[in-house]
């Protein structure tokens, strides 16, 4: 026990003496959360709209007014031909073009039916989908209004859909993103620091001097894991504080459950780092291999896109993706208030995973060549 204590003491002296690492430990969570949470948003705040109004009637103006009045649209250009409007799409000054053909008002009054054309820039298909959804909802709103006018009384649909969103009532994107960013943060700090630390000892040859001492394998591994586990848990706490202070991050569940799961999760994340460092000989190798795994795992973890919509094979691959487990669980705890019983399967999975990856790491880590 005392030996482990000395190893940990040594690690902390080195970490606190490291002029690059220490500021990073504090700066990274602040930067990642503040920048990424605000930047990686799926809400369209400003949709640039070009208008081609060939009808020029009060009805057509009313429709355009609908868009202009919406906080999401910015009607900033009027063109006389569709061709000119298409040019706006091409040079990226417009996201959407509304084309109201000649005779729009007449058709609407006479035939009770009229056409409107929308052209949407779909370079980014997610954005295009969103614009389409917003536009459709404005048009249907407009339809209801016209119908009401024609019938002469307030019109009501026989079946009306009223939405109430559970667990994130405001559909606030920030509080969906923030836990995801926390997962990445905790993992990067834990996994990278562990792996790089050990490989550095290999590169500098200090591991050689350590190997000839009576330190046992398990002492070495615990001595290497514990400091970074403490730092990773600190990062989580730090990130949560920032979330509460600046992003109104709720906490429906219990901190105890969250930290307990994180602890189990870190066994896997750090075990991964240990394993990679055991099979690599230079920091360069470790960085490269880890970067590959991180990128794949993060993209498949469900941080941006729900894992349920992934193809079946991808969901199968996610069984070995530690990020996916944590991503799911942290949102369950923070947004939904899930308790231990709700996440027990994930805990079991992580424990099994930890057992496997740590055994692999210990097996590969040898004190002799």
């Amino acid at each position: 026990m005392r030996t482990i204590g000395f190893l940990i003491q040594k690690e902390f002296i080195q970490i606190f003496r490291n002029k690059t690492l220490l500021p990073l430990i504090f700066a990274v969570p602040i930067l990642q959360l503040v920048i990424l949470v605000n930047a990686a948003t799926l809400e369209m705040k400003k949709i640039d709209m070009t208008v081609v109004d060939k009808d020029m009637t009060s009805t057509s103006r009313q429709l355009i007014q609908k868009f202009d009045g919406s906080p999401f649209y910015q009607v900033d250009k009027a063109r006389f031909s569709v061709k000119n409007a298409e040019a706006d799409l091409k040079d990226n000054t417009a996201d959407i073009v509304i084309h109201i053909p000649h005779g729009f008002e007449d058709d609407l009054l006479d035939e009770k039916e009229a056409d409107v054309q929308f052209l949407i820039n779909a370079i980014n298909n997610t954005a295009a989908g969103l614009i389409n959804a917003y536009t459709t909802s404005i048009i249907s709103d407009y339809n209801n209004k016209i119908l009401a006018e024609q019938i002469g009384k307030k019109f009501e649909l026989p079946v009306e859909i009223n939405y109430r969103y559970f667990f994130n009532t405001q559909l606030d994107y920030n509080i969906y993103m923030l836990p995801g960013i926390l997962v990445i943060l905790v993992t990067i700090i834990g996994m990278f620091l562990t792996a790089l630390n050990i490989v550095r000892e290999k590169e500098l040859g200090t591991i050689e001097q350590l190997n000839v001492t009576p330190i046992k394998k398990y002492q070495f591994i615990i001595g290497k894991m514990l400091p970074f586990m403490v730092i990773a848990l600190f990062e989580l706490a730090f990130g949560l504080v920032i979330g509460h202070l600046f992003f109104n991050l709720p906490m429906e569940g219990s901190y105890a459950v969250l930290f307990l799961f994180t602890l189990v999760y870190l066994l896997v994340a750090l075990g991964f780092g240990l394993f990679l460092s055991a099979i690599s000989n230079s920091q360069q190798q470790v960085m490269f291999v880890m970067f590959f795994f991180m990128l794949t795992f993060i993209l498949m973890s469900g941080i941006f896109t729900p894992t349920e919509s992934m193809p079946e094979w991808a969901q199968t691959v996610n069984v070995i993706n530690p990020f996916a487990y944590f991503m799911k669980v942290i949102r369950m705890i923070i947004l939904k208030g899930s308790g231990l019983a709700d996440i027990r399967h994930e805990i079991y999975s992580m424990l099994i995973y930890a057992l496997i990856i740590l055994s692999l790491a210990i097996w590969r880590y040898r004190k002799v060549a």
Partner: protein, 305 residues
């Protein structure tokens, strides 16, 4: 019981044969030198003894403990100083020493008497980070760390390589004093002049032992007449001497060439031969062989076989 027993050890790295059939015994309390040029296999042998490397074949034991099966016991009683500085550069002198002391379950205070002479020299800098020490001081710190748990045996891999002449001399004085305390020391070095400071040496070349004996005996076994020859043009002198029909071997030693021969000849004979080749300022004098001469001789003989 012998301090070190090595039986028929082989080790190769892919194509390269680092050690081929090493047999060696080191007595308790000896200051034993492994002497040989780079690539002779010194480091591999020391790493095997320090339980950091498995031999491909053969077996070695330290105080009766097998280096493979009982490595744990060896790690408790052995001190190891690798050729490359391997302490934590971002820890201070004192922190490094404290760390290694505590890992071995001891304290600086407990074994201070053992490292006193060495540590006193770096103690004024004990708050300095190890990475900021000079080469000689780094080496003293490394030795202090290797000694802090009062080992019975010490493995030093080229401790004096890249160290200035004064520090080298000091270092060997320290080794001598450690020998007095009863610590068995195995030290490797490419410097032949250091061989004479050891109790016994093993001359190594290409993974083989050329000879194992006391420095005096090794020199005593030298069976040629030896001359130091000088002239103005050293490089050409070696070439020409090798064409002299009574030459057994000719090797450069600093500014002179050591000429070994089995036959007796008069110096005028050689002087005339060299003058004939156009050499000027020729001096020829008989000398006593050193370890390096013996090494060259043994090496040549092995190559001839």
């Amino acid at each position: 019981m012998k301090a070190v027993e090595i039986h028929n050890i082989y080790k190769s790295y892919k194509e390269v044969k680092a050690l081929s059939g090493i047999n060696l015994q080191v007595k308790k309390g000896e200051l034993f030198g492994l002497i040989g040029p780079d690539g002779a296999g010194k480091t591999s042998l020391i790493r095997i003894l320090a339980t950091l490397l498995y031999p491909d074949e053969g077996q070695a034991s330290i105080f009766g403990w097998d280096t493979i099966d009982e490595f744990r016991e060896i790690r408790k009683i052995a001190g190891y100083m690798p050729g490359r500085f391997s302490l934590y550069q971002d820890l201070s002198v004192e922190e490094n020493l404290n760390f290694y002391a505590s890992i071995f379950g001891t304290t600086i205070k407990e074994n201070y008497h053992l490292i006193k002479d060495i540590y006193q020299q770096i103690e004024p800098f004990k708050k300095r980070l190890a990475g900021r020490l000079s080469g000689g001081m780094k080496q003293k710190l490394a030795l202090s760390c290797a000694l802090i748990h009062k080992p019975d045996i010490l493995f030093l891999d080229e401790p004096t390589t890249g160290v200035d002449a004064v520090s080298r001399k000091e270092f060997w004085e320290i080794l001598k004093s450690l020998e007095q305390v009863g610590i068995t020391i195995i030290v490797s070095t490419p410097y032949m002049d250091e061989a004479e400071l050891c109790d016994r040496v093993a001359l190594m070349q290409q993974g083989r032992l050329l000879d194992v004996d006391t420095p005096a005996n090794i020199i005593g076994k030298y069976d040629h007449d030896l001359y130091a020859v000088e002239s103005k043009t050293l490089h050409r002198l070696i070439k020409d001497l090798r064409t002299f029909d009574k030459t057994t071997s000719a090797f450069p030693f600093g500014d002179t060439v050591h000429l070994a021969t089995n036959e007796t000849f008069r110096r005028q004979e050689l002087d005339k031969f060299l003058s004939g080749k156009g050499h000027e300022n020729i001096t020829i004098k008989p000398i006593e062989p050193g370890i390096e001469d013996c090494f060259m001789n043994l090496m040549r003989r092995q190559n001839d076989q």
